[in-house]
């Protein structure tokens, strides 16, 4: 081990320790809990080893909830990308001084508490709310904007789009403008340049942003509760209920493990994407 190696391990140690204690160990605990029986009043009955929880997670009832969560999280991800990419692109093309201000504006909502931002949507969208009042004044509506899937997707998209903007902006920043210039010089249209040069080279940023939105959305339980009016059950709500209401920790752990599995697969795909893009660039 060289001196430099030693130094880098030393510098990594606090971060690694953090990861192992607060990430790896809890994940292993979750995987371990899956195979035990629930205690009547919560906790775990360590005396019984069982695969029943795993089998139960694939019961059509829970599979439907997982599937719905995948669908809603995917919708939110697509919406966030459709809004986030043009925004990031515009910011990257803005004069340098304006860029700082624009990025600042993009993350400004994070200065307000998540719950308050979510409640603000209730004020806007409820049947007697601002949007429907405005619609009524021009003879439209009332439209059912709240307590449905639309409101949940909207809430998730709204909350997580800034992550997409930041991730894609970072990718666009790293992109050497001479690639696009060369493409234009060689006669490609602006559209072709975007589809063939800019988008593929910023794919790692897109993937990173998409994984952010997807992973945060699928585990979210506050937005479905508030904007979905509790009528929509997502995986996050189901897990919350298992741990807190049903006092069924092993089944909650099983569902968590499935979610962790889904996320790992996604992160793996994202890593593949960035490696391929890096390989092409060098």
């Amino acid at each position: 081990m060289t001196e430099a190696d030693r130094k880098s391990y030393l510098l990594m140690a606090p971060g690694l320790l953090w990861l192992v204690c607060l990430m790896v160990v809890p994940c292993l605990l979750i995987f371990g809990l899956m195979f035990f029986e629930r205690g009547t009043y919560g906790g775990i009955d360590w005396s019984i080893v069982t695969f029943e929880n795993v089998a139960r997670a694939f019961d059509p009832l829970y599979a439907t909830i997982l599937w719905d969560s995948l669908r809603i999280a995917s919708l939110a991800t697509i919406m966030a990308l459709l809004i986030g990419y043009p925004a990031a692109y515009a910011i990257s093309k803005a004069p340098e001084k304006a860029q700082t201000a624009l990025l600042f504006l993009a993350i400004l909502p994070f200065w307000t508490n998540y719950l308050i931002r979510t409640y603000a949507w209730i004020v806007l969208l409820n049947p007697a709310g601002l949007v429907n009042t405005a619609l009524a004044s021009v003879g439209l509506g009332p439209w059912p904007l709240l307590y449905n899937e639309f409101a949940v997707v909207l809430g998730l998209t709204y909350n997580y789009t800034p992550f997409v903007i930041l991730a894609i902006f970072a990718a666009l920043q790293r992109l050497d403008p001479s690639y696009a210039e060369a493409s234009r010089d060689l006669g490609a249209t602006a559209m072709t340049t975007f589809w063939r040069i800019t988008l593929p080279l910023t794919a790692p940023g897109v993937a990173a942003g998409a994984v952010f939105v997807f992973v945060l959305s699928i585990g979210n339980f506050i937005t479905p509760d508030l904007l979905g009016g509790g009528k929509l059950q997502m995986a996050g709500n189901l897990i919350y209920d298992q741990f807190l209401t049903a006092r069924d920790w092993p089944f909650g752990a099983t569902l968590s493990a499935i979610l962790i599995g889904v996320m790992l697969v996604l992160l793996f795909i994202q890593a593949l994407f960035s490696r391929r893009a890096l390989g092409e660039q060098s």
Binding site: Y41, G43, G229, G230, K231
Partner: protein, 349 residues
Amino acid sequence: MRISSLVRGIAAAAMLAVSATAALADKIVVSNWDGYMPKDIAEKFKAATGIDLEVSVHATNEEIMGKVTASGGEGYDVLFVSSPFAEALNKMGLLAPVDPTKIPNLKNLYPEATQLKHDPGNAFSVPYTWGTTGLCYRSDVVKEAPDSWADLLTPAEDVKGKTTMLATDRWLMAPAFLLAGKSVNSTDQADLDAARDQLVATKKTLLAYDDTTFYSKLVSGEASLVEAWDGWCNYGIAEKPEIKYVIPKEGSDLWVDTMVITKAAKNPEGAAKFIDFIMSADNGKWMVENIMYKSPNKAAMEAIDPAMLTQYPNMAIAPADLLKFEQLRDLGDGMKAFSKTVSEIMAAK
């Protein structure tokens, strides 16, 4: 010289340890829902007893159950929990018996409040508030005043899409059980399935499930008819007198929030003193006037402004009438089937 300084050191350390335990013994930790006690309760309690009071808050019964089962009750002296949870904690052996000689203010309880089914004779819990679950509605908006759980579960055309139900599992299921004439504590699979079918059909007519803001939905006009705890309906009535509360003809559950002392309590004497303090007529009166829940504390109910009973008619329900309703009980192992049914309702489209 060296030895004597060592001895002195040990003596000093021992004294520190003694004073530390003394300080510990003069403090109690209480966990309660936020806003369920006077804000200055710690100062008042310290002034009355010289004991420091640390208040921690929990948002739900389930949250404090999780904390207490994980720690065996360590770190808390007194907990405020609803009666089924008090019952479960007791079955787990986590509660200390209530010693009536140390809580003289127990005499303030209505006789009915000492005969509650979850704990007859107040062996391990002292009731703090009690009430019913019923229908809270806008009398100026609904065409016909509701009087049955059917008015909520199969709503008339004019209130369809303008009703909410409580989301907490036990109260989500209760209206279906009550309408079908079943026990609110049933875990019989046929009863669960019937309740599920009813509630899945009802779900399509709901504005939302709502445990916390249903009364403001009534005030704003978003909703016209909601399932509500009587005390919470009073918050709506306070803002809009057209809001009314009714117990459906099929009945209600009787809910009771209680105070319990943990077996792991570091300061059981202080815990008993705290419960005694809460049971005083004055503190009970504060609770009724500010939280607008009924109290099982007779002295407190007699101390409040009688005008409250006219403004909020559900405050005047007699204890004997409350006891006609079935209490929610701990379901034990039946919880698993019960929870699955709730998940089925929640996942239904």
